[in-house]
């Protein structure tokens, strides 16, 4: 178990021996954008792969035409560095063109100035090396620029500017194999500002700095992800007469849901926190509710808390027994969690009856318990996308009569003999489930949240564009459930 000490980490730098003694540039990426992304700057410089222009390897740098002695007309500029000692070296060659009057190179250093944000924190430039090339010498030469004592081995930060100058003719300057003694000290993820000079605090030592860690004192947790929103709830609405059609009021079971996924610094799922609101049940049956986590083996769960499976058999880790995938029974009886008032059918679908405050339940599926990964292994955040959650009800205590969203696979506890009977046209082997002959479902999921209908009011009677949405395959009136003018008949909505 990690001890919670104040761990001093430079969080960005992980690789041992990362303090490089050299910063190099050789154009071999073939893509200047990669060097720019790593905080190099260029002006009037591109990469060339022409055989007649390459000095070393497959690519070299090449300037534009030289007609200026300005230091900022054609240059390469290093990222922020801690400068070492010795010589800055590179190779260069003048392009063979007539009327060349002058070609040269100037090397300067630029100090970091923390007060000069307008210049990208670049202070005043100092040129410390000058070389004018022999314009009749078309050979590749080595440029050796001694690092001045003023900056050698300094703890301060600098950029090195290599400027190419010239006059006359169209001849360009090729260069390559730059070596700058020193240590790379830039942060490409932070607008190329210097790496932190002050070490970053990581109280729980999990590798995520406190400023980014949503659990700064918990070494086993770091981040939260949400669906459909941090505080918003989607709505699941079921008909419970499967495999026969119901009255399509989609209020036999109505449940609001919000999912929070908690991960650790290794991006493994630690907890799935499922919050449910039992909103209504306009049914004679007292239905149960659960969800399968598709693709996630049952033994990847460490424990389940907050659910009420009643007398249904559960494994030691809290998932339902006898299923390959993790199955969580949230409750076994709706009316065990919300008492019927005895007016009308069920609860909260008949306006004549009293409104019963929805019961809230929070089910926590714990995957990694105090850092211990269960026998089935860890689950990554990528594996636990919301689409893996396969919600279902089971009817009136009959575990085998389970009803899912359309085309979602049943659990292993389903009674398969019910498929294809009554109004159901499921063909699970072909991926088709819980649909009628004209493809009507027995359950819908409105992630944006949904105002359900009163008892016996069919959904198309309450929502004027529900049918248009359905027959268009979702392309028309995708917002049919919103409370927009003309979209609903309010008297049919609870």
């Amino acid at each position: 178990m990690k001890t919670k000490l104040l761990s001093i980490l430079v969080f960005i730098v992980f690789t041992p021996g990362v303090a490089l003694s050299q910063v190099t540039l050789n154009a071999e990426s073939g893509n200047r954008a990669i060097e720019v992304g790593n905080c190099w700057q260029f002006a009037g410089q591109t990469y060339t792969s022409l055989t007649s222009e390459v000095l070393s390897g497959s690519f070299s740098l090449i300037s534009g035409q030289m007609n200026s002695f300005s230091l900022t007309n054609s240059f390469i500029k290093t990222p922020w560095m801690k400068i070492g000692s010795g010589n800055i070296t590179f190779i260069a060659r003048i392009g063979n063109q007539p009327n060349t009057v002058a070609r040269g190179v100037r090397v300067s250093y630029i100090p970091y100035n923390s007060t000069s944000s307008s210049t990208g924190f670049e202070g005043t430039l100092t040129t410390f090396y000058t070389r004018d090339f022999n314009v009749s010498d078309l050979n590749t030469v080595t440029v050796i620029a001694p690092i001045p004592a003023a900056i050698a081995n300094s703890t301060s930060l600098y950029k090195i500017l290599v400027s190419f100058v010239g006059q006359g003719g169209s001849g360009k300057i090729m260069s390559d194999n730059y070596i700058f003694p020193g240590t790379y000290w830039s942060n490409p993820s932070n607008s190329c500002q210097p790496l932190p000079v002050v070490v970053v605090t990581d109280t729980d030592g999990d590798g995520v700095p406190d400023a980014q860690d949503e659990y700064p004192n918990d070494p086993y947790r770091a981040y939260n992800s949400y669906f459909p929103g941090q505080t918003s709830f989607g709505t699941l609405a079921f008909e419970d007469n499967w495999p026969l059609k119901g009255d399509y009021d989609f209020n036999d079971v109505v449940i609001g849901y919000n999912i929070k996924t908690i991960t650790n610094a290794a991006n493994q799922v630690v907890d799935l926190v499922a919050s449910f609101r039992l909103l209504a049940s306009g049914a004679s049956f007292s239905n149960g509710f659960g969800f399968q986590i598709d693709g996630i083996a049952a033994n990847k769960v460490s424990k389940v808390t907050g659910n009420k499976p009643g007398t249904m058999p559960m494994a030691a880790n809290g998932v339902e027994v006898g299923q390959a995938f993790a199955n969580i029974i949230v409750f076994s009886s709706f009316f065990g969690e919300m008492i019927r008032p005895g007016v009308g059918i069920g609860v909260n679908t008949d306006k004549a009856g009293p409104y019963i405050t929805p019961t809230n339940m929070q089910v926590v599926v714990n995957f990694i318990n105090n850092g211990v990964i269960p026998p089935g292994g860890a689950v990554t955040l990528g594996q636990l996308n919301f689409s893996a959650l396969n919600f279902f009800i089971f009817v009136n205590g009959d575990r085998g009569t389970e009803i899912h969203l359309p085309d979602r696979m049943p659990t292993e506890r389903v009674n398969p003999s019910l498929f294809g009977t009554g109004d159901d046209t499921s063909n699970p082997g072909a991926g088709r489930t819980y649909k009628t002959a004209n493809n009507m479902p027995w359950a819908i999921n409105i992630v944006q949240g949904f105002d359900y209908t009163i008892e016996k009011a069919a959904i198309n009677e309450a929502y004027n564009f529900f049918i248009e949405w359905a027959i268009s395959g979702g392309s028309s009136y995708a917002n049919w459930f919103l409370n927009l003018p003309g979209y609903r008949n309010a008297e049919l909505i609870y």
Partner: protein, 136 residues
Amino acid sequence: MITIIKRFVILMIGSALVLSCVKLDPPDRSIKPNEKLNEISVPGNFNWSTSMNVEVSITGLPTVIEIKNTLKITLTDGTTLYSALHKMSENIKISLTVPNETSSLIIIYGATQQNIPIVDKKAEFSFIPVVTDDEV
């Protein structure tokens, strides 16, 4: 007289028995389905969902030193859909479920915050910058 009383008692007992029968509601298997919904033709491949799965592709930048920072992908309302420690040099594909009406996502990584459009249920982001010929 006694016969009348007997008949009355029998009648009263019989009435009480009849009236006291508690008829449990049987499972209602004879619900009349909505006729209109039975007649519409819904496409067979319609999934009835108000959400969609979006594949987010992130292209890494080969870095000089290893850079790790928190990668967040959010909706435009700030809802965090994905949050993880991520190496800047790593390529990654992430599948996220978003409401159907979502047209863009926001990528947040260090000082970078960028809105990326969703096109055909795909969204792309690259840490490699776009460089023009006159880039300084």
